[in-house]
Subunit: 122 residues, 2 copies
DNA sequence: GGTGCTGTTTGATGGTTGTCAAACAGTTTC
DNA sequence: GAAACTGTTTGACAACCATCAAACAGCACC
């Protein structure tokens, strides 16, 4: 089949990237202690910076500035971020479209995400 | 010797409680990842609430609402909070005068502490 | 359709952590 | 000075965690 909804080189658009959403907690079920636990790690704090700068279509270590880590390790970190409620992931082809859950986090913990992003050492 | 600088039943005053300050990081050396690591634990997140409500003159588990924990465990948590830069501790007699480092944290990570306290589930 | 790419899962491993118990050090009080 | 109290330190132990490697699954592209 030909590519009907856009090839991988298409520019990032605002709309729905399509694909199936990976399991994640409801807004009301996001727990502060789990968010802090998720972000209390150098690698995942780095990923917060990456996703604060924009959505990503790839989880490749190289694409995320994590070339020193094995891809299974990165996958592990992505899962923790998603299951804690920090990020949202959609399966698009063989890639994963990952974004920060800004509105959900702002609704649940007002001001927290902005303060965290502003406090990043990068 | 008689009590010359106030007995343990004196009311809490705003001024210097006296005593020697336990080692803690300089403001500029407070690291975000260590603060998040420190607060990414149910017990220490509870202690954040306790100290957000006011300074404490005791580290006894019962005085902190941690009756289910051994005193050495509480001491361990207090150390992590202090060494991460969240709290400040002074030795006063046989007690410890512990307080939140509000101004230091506000200076280093503007808005973070308020957002965290506002997000507490207690 | 086969090859290559992206990402997940499982297992193994070394390091970290939360907890308790016991011993210890200062301090207060009698 | 002895007894009681507060808190620290050390050791032990189970649970958890970050990491890698290998195997696997789904998709893309030729």
């Amino acid at each position: 089949m030909e590519t009907e909804k856009g090839s991988r080189n298409d520019p990032l658009v605002d709309g729905d990237p399509g694909g199936e959403q990976l399991p994640q907690p409801e807004v009301a079920d996001i727990e502060l202690v789990k968010v802090l636990q998720a972000l209390g790690d150098p690698v995942r704090l780095w990923l917060l910076k990456v996703y604060a700068d924009g959505d990503q279509y790839s989880c490749r270590p190289g694409a995320l500035g994590l070339d020193h880590l094995h891809k299974s390790t990165v996958s592990h970190h992505m899962r923790i971020l998603r299951e804690s409620g920090v990020t949202s992931t959609r399966v698009v082809g063989r890639n994963r479209y990952v974004r920060l859950r800004r509105e959900d986090l702002d609704a649940r913990f007002p001001g927290l995400l902005d303060a965290l992003i502003g406090a990043l050492p990068y």
